[in-house]
Structure formats: structure tokens, C-alpha cells
């Protein structure tokens, strides 16, 4: 048991995958094996979006205490609207729409970073207030209208290969690339160093402000991309489509074994945690839990997961 705990301590992401597997088994036990495959397909499809924004959030949280990006939902709404409007339902304009959604994300990220760096506003306040502004821009830009995605784009975002969504395959590849960036590039190492001790990192020659800037821009750019994909997936953009990703991104980061105190990040855990969260809700729905019971149980189970993952162990 001890050895097992130590194993999990070394690989905290194992726990999130184990959790996901456990709730999936509990679900199909109830349905007597029916629909197990479909549930996995759906879990992969919906987790894809959580993973894309979750990884951005993970990098932000890893830069140390107090760093968090609360503007993700508004950015998703704005970028989704921008992408759909520019694509205008035409296949030929898909690439331009994708560039525009990432551009919109970068604009929000730049604004966030300016607030944090030049005005020295704590990130939690800066990104929260910028999210209000971004949402207002999204409302006046799109006037609340839903625009349908171009057919090819809608097809791409909903395509499946042997029951596995295409988009999920892309997101798995994306996660692998981000894991390499985290561990093997100067930028990734700098992020981890800053999260442990910003002053020590600076004195060790790490470019602190450049790294933080890239991190906030990256998180917002991922949110922008997620906005376009989500709009394609759900047949059009909506202002509220980013709502659930505020808490979801923070939850997957923490459940996935990333340290809230910064300096320790885990990319595979984001996938495990995203699957776990989706499957958990599916399980509770299958068991016929009422909305109230579902929320209470979701909360309790998340707390249990985080406790099991050990949170932050004392560093000595």
C-alpha cells in the first residue's frame, strides 16, 4: 500500500486516469455494459475542449502563487464569435477564421499582461476585470446572433475515426507537444523555475517577465482556438459557451497533479482529469441523481481526489 502511494506520489496523473476508469466502470455496471463505447467517445469529444484551455491554465498556474487566468470563458465567447463571423459559413475562409480567433486570444492575453505588468494589478483581479470587458466586446461584436460554421469545419470538428473523435486525436498530439515544451524547452523550464521562486529564478538568469508574458498570451490564444473549435462542434457560436470552463480549467489543473503553489506541472494529468470530470457527471446522471445531489457529489468527489493526490507535499 505504501509502495503504491509512493508510486502515485511520483506520478500524480495516474490517479486521475484511475479515477476516470473507476467512474466509467461504475457507470457501465449500472447500464449492464450497454453504451460503454459511446460514453467514451462522448467523454473524449467533450474533454478535448477542456484539455486545450486546461493546458493554457496549467502554464499560468505553474508560474506561481496568485497566477490564474479568469478571462478564459469570455475569450472563448469572443473568439468563437470572431471566427464564425469571419468564416461566414464559407469553407474557403476557415483558415482566416482560425487565425482571427487566435489573434483575438492574443489581443486579450496582451491586455491581461499589460494590466498585470504595467499597472501591477494582481492576476486574479486583472483577468477577472478584463473578462468583463472582453465579454462586453463579444456582446456588441456579435449582437448575440448565432452564426453557423462552414460545413467542412463542422465536419472536421465532429469527425470520428473508429469511435475516436478526430479533434481528440489532435488534442492528444497537442498535449504531447506541450509536455515536451514544458520539460525540454528554455521557456518551459523557465516557467517551472519562476513558479518555485521568482526571485531565485531571476537571479539564476531566467527571463522572468518574458516568460510570464508568453504564458498569459499562450493561455488566451488557446482559449481563442478553443472558442472556434467549440463553435464548429456545437453548430454555431454562443455567448455562454465558455461559461463552464472557468472552474473546469482550474479543477483539471489541480486534479491532474499540478501544484497550485506553482513550479510543478503535469500535462498527462490534464487529460485524465478532464475525462474524470466528464465521466463523473455522466455516472451521476446515469444513476438518476437529482441536480442538487449531483452538484454535492461532484464537489465531494473532487475534494476527495485532491486529498488523495496529496495536494502539495511539504518540500522537506
Amino acid at each position: 500500500m505504501r509502495a503504491l502511494a509512493a508510486r502515485i506520489g511520483n506520478k500524480p496523473w495516474l490517479l486521475s486516469f484511475a479515477g476516470a476508469l473507476a467512474v466509467w466502470l461504475a457507470t457501465i455496471l449500472f447500464t449492464e455494459g450497454k453504451g460503454g463505447g459511446q460514453i467514451i467517445t462522448a467523454a473524449l469529444a467533450f474533454s478535448t475542449f477542456t484539455v486545450i484551455v486546461g493546458i493554457g491554465q496549467m502554464f499560468v498556474i505553474t508560474t506561481g502563487p496568485g497566477n490564474v487566468d479568469l478571462s478564459i470563458p469570455s475569450t472563448i465567447a469572443l473568439a468563437g464569435g470572431v471566427a464564425m463571423k469571419i468564416m461566414g459559413g464559407q469553407d474557403g475562409l476557415i483558415w482566416l477564421g482560425l487565425l482571427a480567433c487566435i489573434g483575438a486570444g492574443l489581443a486579450v492575453g496582451t491586455f491581461n499582461y499589460i494590466l498585470i505588468r504595467l499597472l501591477k494589478i494582481p492576476p486574479i483581479i486583472a483577468t477577472l476585470s478584463s473578462s468583463l470587458i472582453v465579454m462586453s466586446v463579444a456582446i456588441s461584436y456579435g449582437r448575440g446572433l448565432q452564426i453557423k460554421p462552414p460545413p467542412s469545419f463542422a465536419d472536421f470538428t465532429t469527425a470520428q475515426v473508429a469511435g475516436v473523435p478526430m479533434l481528440s486525436l489532435c488534442a492528444i498530439l497537442f498535449a504531447m507537444i506541450m509536455a515536451v515544451i514544458l520539460e525540454r524547452t528554455v521557456y518551459g523550464r523557465a516557467t517551472l523555475a519562476i513558479g518555485q521562486n521568482m526571485r531565485a529564478a531571476h537571479l539564476a538568469g531566467v527571463k522572468v517577465e518574458r516568460t510570464r508574458c508568453i504564458t498569459y498570451l499562450m493561455s488566451a490564444a488557446f482559449a481563442g482556438l478553443c472558442g472556434a473549435l467549440l463553435a464548429g462542434f456545437s453548430g454555431g457560436n454562443a455567448l455562454n459557451m465558455g461559461e463552464e470552463y472557468l472552474l473546469a480549467t482550474i479543477a483539471v489543473v489541480v486534479i491532474g497533479g499540478t501544484s497550485v503553489a506553482g513550479g510543478r506541472a503535469n500535462v498527462p494529468g490534464i487529460w485524465g482529469a478532464a475525462l474524470f470530470l466528464y465521466l463523473l457527471v455522466t455516472m451521476l446522471n446515469t444513476y438518476g441523481a437529482s441536480a442538487g445531489v449531483r452538484l454535492v457529489l461532484t464537489g465531494l468527489i473532487i475534494i476527495a481526489m485532491i486529498t488523495l493526490a496529496g495536494g502539495d507535499k511539504p518540500s522537506r
Binding site: T185, V186, R189, A193, Q196, A200, A201, A204, S315
Partner: protein, 493 residues
């Protein structure tokens, strides 16, 4: 008071392992009432572990702790130790940086409560500071994080000596003088002697062997997790003490090595810096290949000047220029140096990441090679370079910080009093390394609170109140000159 019959502490058969590393193997130790015991040994000899067991911050794997003759049960911990009158000042400071000096005092003394606790805490710590460090100049209401490390150390020490509900019977001082300047260090040790004369006891560890020989009654020497010598201090001298620790080189060699500097100015100037508070135009000037010493009392702007040079790396500014890359060796390991979640290898390579990149990615093999090379060169004591940095003793962590700077591309190395808590043997190795690197063309700017270390420098600047007040060439360097410059105008007494 030698070998007093009554024992305040008696440890027998103390054993402690950290994973595969055996830190202590059946160690016996006693401290008599009214005795000042010196504990010396190399980094990693087990001193800090032993002290932690005594203070209750670590639980032993085996052995018996008796305090005032009473055997302590298995649950012996910090609270119990404190109730029995054992006070500890650790090498790594334990103050909360976000609280004021007075508030930190309250944490220690639970009996300060009710209205006006802040006032009584301030009064208590002010009295403590005044008694031990007359003329300290520390406000009880200052936030600890804003104080220089020397001041923080004074607060930590004064706090340990203050008394409220339980009397202080044994004070454990782990490297107390390493962050203090010469004057404050002397004040502390004098105070300790007074306490011991009044019947208190003290356990002192220090790498400054002079402190041990001058102020302790008895000396215990540790090596590789065991006690190798236990004799009255009068039976030791510097040479025999160093020999007992298992190191044959004496620091006489430092002096023999002092370089005969060629005509100053033959080499190009690589650093020129005027301190921000400088009233006149006096500047620190370093030529290529020089070792420049930065002296003066702790907290008089030396670190700030180093940071000023650090920020100007590769630039020419109005008051500062530094030609080429600069690396810094932090002295305040916890706050400025160690990246605590990382391995030893990553802590070394962090400064050199950019040069290890191959096709956009950090080359793992090159990184491992860099780390092993420096582990050999600077002899970092570890079974595995991929272990966490905190698995190392304090002195070995400091070696990692040296490796980080010396392994980098920096031609200018700044050192912020880096020898705190480093043993004599390691110091000599590092001195030699610094000298070799300087001869190869690197420039060192070395802030130190140990006047002896200035003997390694080619040129020394003394700072006081944020300004350069003396500029002494190697040939004219004497301890008196440095002290005189540090104290001119009787600014501090």
C-alpha cells in the same frame, strides 16, 4: 566549568537515515549545565541532523534522549523541547517574512495575548536585541522580509533568547555567525559566555573555527555521521581541529596563495559601478581576471551593489556597466538560490539552459554531462545527481549554486557572501577554484562578511551606509584598515 557533572542533555545511540543516506550512526552526545559545547565537522557530517533531533524537529530512528536526566518518550517534539527550556536558532532562518519582527516574536511566545500583545511583543524583542546586539538599529515593527539577512539572523537569535513562561536552559546555535558581520558575531558570542557563566548551556556549531576555539569549553568533532573527537577546547588549536575533521590543508595555504598582482589596469575594465547612494564619484572597478572583494558590516549596501551590476549585465548605463554575461552566486540560499522542487542536476543547469539547446530542445545528455562535470569538480556529496536539491546538506547546496554560476557562460561572477555555513575544507576547494577561474580570465566580485576571505582578493572596496568608503589594494590590506573604514565617524557602536 569543564566537563560539568550535571548534564542538561544526554543523547545516546542516536541514529537517523534519510532514505539510503545514513546521516547519524549511533551518536552519543552530552551537554553539561553551564557548559558551552562546540560541534564541528564537514558539511554533511551530521551536525544539523543531530541538532534537529535534539530540538524535536526530526524524530530519531533509534536512540535515547535524556533531558535533565529524564528519558524522553517517543513523542518528543518541538513543544516538549521548548517546554523543557531548549531553544534553537537554525541555520536556515525560520521567521515569517510577511510579518513584523514583533509579530514573529508572538509566534514564539504563546503567552503574549490579549489587548496590546503587539506592544508587549515589540518591547520583549527590543529588549532582547538591545541586550545581545547593542546598537542594532532594528525596529520591532519592521517587516521581516524587508530586513537584510544579517538583521533577520539577529532577530532570530534575540527571539530564541527572550523568556516568557518557560526558562531558557539550553540554546542551540546552528551557524549563528555565518550571516552576521564580525561585530555582531562577537556581540553574540560574548553574550553566550555571559549566559553560560550564569549557569545556562549552549550548543554551538560554526565553520569559523576561531569562534569555536575562543568561546567553547569543549569541542565535539563529527565526521560521516559519527563522533571522532570529544575533548576540552584548550587541547585543540586551529591545526589540530582541522586535522580532526579529516582535513589536512590548513588555511595558512590561503595566504601562501595570495597572488602577486600584475600592475593593476593592465587588463581591460569589465565592471564599473557607482552605488546608487554614493555622494561622490567613487566607483567599484574590476578589470578582467581580477578578484574584487566587497567588505564592510552586513547590510551596508553590498548586496544592492551586486544586484545593480547583475541587472546591468551586458549593458552600459550611466552609473553601471558590465561587459558581458553576469552570473550570481546567492548567499541567502533559501530566498535567492535554491529551486526547491528540482533535482541537483536541474539546479546546476538552469543558468546554462540556453547554451544546452539543440534544435529547439534542451539536450538531456549535454545537461547531464554538465551536471556530472561540476559534481566532480566541486565535489557535491550525493549518491545521485537526479536527487532533489534539498536532499543535500546546506554546504552542498551552496556548492550547487557555485556550480550553477561557474558552469555558465558568464565572464563576471558576483558572489553574495556565498560561504555561509560552508565548512573549511569546502571553502579551500572553492577558493582554489575561484583562483583558477580568475587566472583563466573570469572576473569575480565577492561580497564577504568574513574578513579572512578578503585575503583571496586582488583589491578590496569597503562599503558603509550604501557608499564605497575605502578602496584598498591587496598589498595594503589589513584587518584594521577594513574595520576602521567600516566604522568611520563612529556611525555604529
Amino acid at each position: 566549568m569543564l566537563h560539568a557533572t550535571e548534564k542538561i542533555v544526554s543523547l545516546s545511540g542516536m541514529t537517523k537515515s534519510f532514505g539510503a543516506v545514513r546521516a547519524l550512526a549511533k551518536v552519543d552526545l552530552t551537554v553539561g549545565v553551564g557548559e558551552c559545547l562546540g560541534l564541528v565537522g564537514h558539511n554533511g557530517a551530521g551536525k544539523s541532523t543531530l541538532i534537529n533531533l535534539l530540538a524535536g524537529t526530526l524524530a530519531p530512528d533509534g536512540g535515547e534522549i535524556r533531558i535533565s536526566g529524564q528519558a524522553q518518550p517517543a513523542g518528543y517534539g518541538v513543544r516538549r523541547a521548548s517546554a523543557l527550556g531548549i531553544r534553537c536558532v537554525f541555520q536556515e532562518l525560520s521567521l515569517c517574512p510577511n510579518l513584523s519582527v514583533a509579530e514573529n516574536t508572538r509566534i514564539y511566545h504563546k503567552s503574549l495575548r490579549g489587548w496590546g500583545w503587539r506592544g508587549s511583543a515589540a518591547e520583549l524583542i527590543r529588549r532582547g536585541l538591545d541586550e545581545i546586539f547593542p546598537g542594532h538599529g532594528i525596529s520591532p515593527h519592521a517587516t521581516v522580509g524587508d530586513l537584510p539577512i544579517g538583521d533577520r539572523q539577529m532577530v532570530e537569535i534575540a527571539r530564541a533568547f527572550t523568556v516568557t513562561d518557560s526558562p531558557t536552559r539550553l540554546v542551540i546555535l546552528d551557524e549563528p555567525t555565518s550571516s552576521l558581520d564580525a561585530v555582531a558575531g562577537k556581540q553574540l558570542l560574548t553574550y553566550v559566555r555571559k549566559l553560560v557563566a550564569e549557569g545556562g548551556s549552549c550548543l554551538l556549531t560554526s565553520h569559523l573555527l576561531g569562534d569555536i576555539l575562543d568561546y567553547c569549553d569543549r569541542v565535539v568533532v563529527m565526521k560521516d555521521g559519527g563522533v571522532v573527537a570529544d575533548r576540552p577546547a584548550v587541547e585543540f588549536d586551529r591545526e589540530s581541529l582541522v586535522a580532526a575533521m579529516g582535513n589536512v590543508v590548513s588555511d595558512a595555504r590561503i595566504k601562501a596563495h595570495a597572488r602577486v598582482t600584475a600592475q593593476r589596469g593592465a587588463m581591460p575594465v569589465v565592471v564599473k559601478a557607482v552605488p546608487k547612494l554614493q555622494a561622490d564619484q567613487a566607483a567599484l572597478v574590476a578589470h578582467k581576471g581580477e578578484i574584487i572583494g566587497l567588505a564592510g558590516l552586513a547590510g551596508h549596501g553590498q548586496t544592492r551593489l551586486l544586484l545593480q551590476i547583475f541587472e546591468a549585465a551586458g549593458q552600459t548605463r550611466a552609473d553601471t556597466n558590465a561587459a558581458g554575461p553576469v552570473a550570481l552566486v546567492a548567499g541567502d540560499r533559501q530566498n535567492d538560490g535554491v529551486l526547491h522542487l528540482w533535482s541537483i542536476a536541474r539546479n546546476i543547469s538552469v543558468r546554462s539552459m540556453r547554451s544546452l539547446v539543440n534544435m529547439g530542445l534542451i539536450d538531456g545528455a549535454a545537461e547531464a554531462a554538465l551536471a556530472s562535470k561540476w559534481r566532480e569538480r566541486i565535489r557535491i556529496r550525493t549518491p545521485d545527481i537526479d536527487n532533489n536539491i534539498l536532499s543535500l546538506s546546506g554546504g552542498n547546496q551552496q556548492k550547487v549554486l557555485f556550480a550553477r554560476a561557474l558552469g555558465s557562460d558568464a565572464g563576471i561572477i558576483l558572489m553574495d557572501d556565498p560561504m555561509r555555513g560552508v565548512d573549511v575544507g569546502t571553502k579551500l576547494e572553492v577558493y582554489e577554484l575561484i583562483r583558477a577561474e580568475a587566472e583563466a580570465g573570469r572576473t569575480f566580485i565577492w561580497y564577504t562578511t568574513e574578513i579572512e576571505e578578503l585575503n583571496n582578493c586582488d583589491h578590496v572596496y569597503v562599503m558603509r551606509d550604501g557608499q564605497i568608503v575605502a578602496d584598498i589594494a591587496r598589498a595594503e590590506l589589513t584587518e584594521e584598515k577594513v574595520l576602521q573604514a567600516s566604522f568611520r565617524e563612529g556611525a555604529q557602536t
